[in-house]
């Protein structure tokens, strides 16, 4: 019953909050064209991830040996690889897989790291110590080597790449959430919620967590780029995604062998796209930080 009563208030609040946020977003984009550029790039990546297979001019998997290793031309915009597959089509179609790995791993670590961190920051004590030591242990390894190890141990699948990427990012999320929750632990509104008769877990979820979310969203955007790079890196060294599936990392790995013989385009274009994707998410994170940063809300 009480949940029913909370709903309209929550809706009204989110509606008011949303329109204010939108107004502020417009202001930030106008003030900072680079953020607008990154939003544009993001939309472009989103479109190719969703509609890629229907938009591309060639079948990304169909080999055509008569057209192998052709330089970029009007017919093959990014050229063709050693099996005559169209690199442009493969780059576009690969967006979906790379985005899926990045999104899923970031979502996973957001839930795991966010919850662990908020609980550690709010309760302190042994939860804090356990979360802190687990984070330290993960941070003690070179992160990419750790990810390699996890994928090698768990098995060579896309799911395991997602899990490995999530694990190596865990400390970033846990520590951020911990510090944000920790400074709010003794805030006046948390005491007030206790006086209203809220139980501790309830305060954690309804009072503290929503206030930690904005910064976590920024962190998500910033780690998206890293997650894409990590997935591509794992594929590059032959872990995770297997040929002939189009994926940026593998494509760079395959093309690397041909650079010496002058076929630069095979590695260049997927690499460039990868760079652009990481670039886009990092800028997006900067823009988001400006949007949620109350200092900028004059």
């Amino acid at each position: 019953m009480s949940a029913l009563a909370e709903k309209p208030a929550a809706q009204a609040q989110s509606a008011a909050g949303l329109s204010a946020t939108l107004r502020h977003a417009r202001y930030v984009v106008r003030e900072n064209p680079v953020t607008a550029l990154s939003f544009g790039l993001f939309v472009l990546f989103l479109v190719s991830a969703v509609f890629g297979p229907w938009l591309v001019p060639h079948d990304p998997l169909a080999s055509n040996t008569s057209a192998a290793l052709q330089a970029p031309s009007a017919r093959y915009w990014f050229g063709t690889d050693q099996l005559g597959r169209d690199i442009f089509s493969r780059v576009v179609v690969a967006t979906r897989l790379d985005m899926w790995i990045a999104t899923a791993s970031v979502a996973l670590v957001f839930v795991m790291g966010g919850l662990a961190g908020v609980a550690a920051g709010y309760y302190g004590g042994w939860i804090d110590r356990v979360v802190g030591r687990v984070s330290d242990t993960i941070m003690a390894f070179p992160l990419f080597v750790l990810a390699m190890g996890i994928v090698a141990a768990l098995g060579n699948t896309v799911t395991n790449i997602i899990i490995a990427t999530a694990i190596v990012n865990f400390p970033l999320y846990a520590r951020l959430a911990r510090s944000e929750a920790n400074i709010r632990r003794d805030a006046g509104f948390v005491h007030a919620a206790r006086l209203s008769g809220n139980s501790e877990p309830r305060i954690l979820f309804t009072q503290v967590l929503p206030n930690v979310m904005p910064l976590m969203m920024v962190q998500m955007s910033l780690t998206m780029g890293y997650a894409i790079l990590n997935a591509a890196g794992l594929s590059f060294i032959g872990l995770g995604v297997r040929p002939p599936m189009p994926e940026w990392g593998i494509m760079v790995a395959e093309g690397a062998a041909f650079i010496v013989s002058g076929e630069w385009w095979i590695a260049l274009f997927p690499g460039l796209t990868l760079m652009l994707a990481v670039f886009c998410f990092n800028l997006l994170g900067d823009g988001l930080r400006d949007i949620v940063d109350p200092q900028r809300r004059t």
């Binding site: 009563a5 309209p8 008011a16 909050g17 005491h191 006086l195 809220n198 501790e200």
Partner: protein
Amino acid sequence: MSTDLAPPLLEITDLTVEFATRRGIVRAVQNVNISVGRGETLGIVGESGSGKSVTSFAAMRILDRAGRIAGGSVVYSGIDVAAAPESEMQDLRGREMSMIFQNPRAALNPIRRVGQQIEDVLIRHVQATRATAKEKAIAMLERVRIARPQERYDAYPFELSGGMCQRIVIALALACKPRLLIADEPTTGLDVTTQKAVMELMVELTRESAMSTILITHDLGLAATYCDRVVVMQKGAVVEEAPARQIFSAPAHPYTRKLMRATPRPGAGLRDLLPEDAPQEGAPQSPAAQARAGEPLLQVENLVKEYPRPSAASFAAKLLGRKGEDKPAFRAVDGISFEVRRGETLGLVGESGCGKSTTSMILMRLLDPTSGRVTFGGQDITAIPARDFAAHPLRHKIQMVFQDPTDSLNPRFTAARAIADPILRAGRMGARDEVRARCEELARLVGFPADLLDRLPHQLSGGQKARVGIARALALDPDLVVLDEPTAALDVSVQAVVLNLLEDLKQRLGMSYLFVSHDLHVVRLLCDRVAVMRGGRIIETGSAEEVLERPREAYTRELIDAIPRPPA
């Protein structure tokens, strides 16, 4: 006056400052004219948002990036501040004009020894060489009356009290013997006795070297006590300018009169703080409340809260598993006893660190005491651990209004949601219409406009946020409300309204208040009885009149004497 003979040191003419915000350009200061003569102390008084700080920031050209001087001129002894190159300004700041900020701890570098920070300024402005800097820094510490300056030279800001930090900031500001000192709320957040010491030191040092001072404050009493001339600002414009004595004896502008009226002072009652045209009638006392008045509601017996002191053992000794000799635990609350009767307001007074906040946290059952007993309505509430108290029926009967209205509201909850929170948790009402109706009723009770109920805290003013906090505390008809400096973060005119509201509500609903504060004037207005705390103990109790007019303890007298008193 000297200003008639010599050109003023700082002349601000027709100054307009604009800030670029997402809602367009906002004029923070408009056509302001201020001049400061050599050796003169000028007070700029105004409430928050009056543009008093922005004016002084413009004078030093340290506006933040969104702000700019849009019109008028600032001339400092012949130099046009608005047009001067940045390198020249950097040279001026610190050497010619310097500033003291509101929060001394934030103004000091936390990881540098205070002596070194003074040296930095001296060396930057070529007032000392590396060889002589230390000696000069220690001399500076001596001038601001820091005891044992040789030792304090090596102290970090966190090792010093708030008052000491402010002395260091003053030492920093005066190190290069500037000719103009701007003090922006230098004593806000300090205890009254510390405030007195800091202000007197500042005045003495500036007089000694014939320095000009601008004192920016919201406290008319403070400005009138320590300044030669006072400028009153409202909404970015100067509304009145007069010698300090005159502004008190014959305030000309209605806004100045309103400010003066709202300032708690000896001889003024609670109703006297409101503007003359406000309705004067108090709320009728409910008969039920009257019948029960006088019965004891809350009894505190021998309450003690101890905190373990950090071990004295050195880091190396700890590594080897050796323990230092155990120091006795720190007693934040040291065996206090008092009672609050029904329908009564008890004031708990003391300076920061005296244990009054710890006491109120224990009474609110947010903290467990080390020993002692708290009986509420005949039931021992210390028997219920703090962590289980949230689910206890007595939870609703003891509520609190917090010190900072902004900090005590969840920034993501609307006003209605904040007020409804205790109602929803108590589960007394089911239907959403019923909860909403109760919220509206409470809003009416505290004078909060019902059409603002769906706003978020950052869309409300300070006074409105305070009302939301009060409505939330009243939502479950509590018997005892702890008021923890409920008006410390509010402007005086808003404070006057909120204090009257609290008194009306008490009359109407028959609650008891425990009023925790360091401001004796405010305590006198609201409280029936007063308990003075020092070092975790209650040193004096009695009726408000008795304690404030005829204090028995020297410490109480010291507290009363430290309140700035404008020249009569």
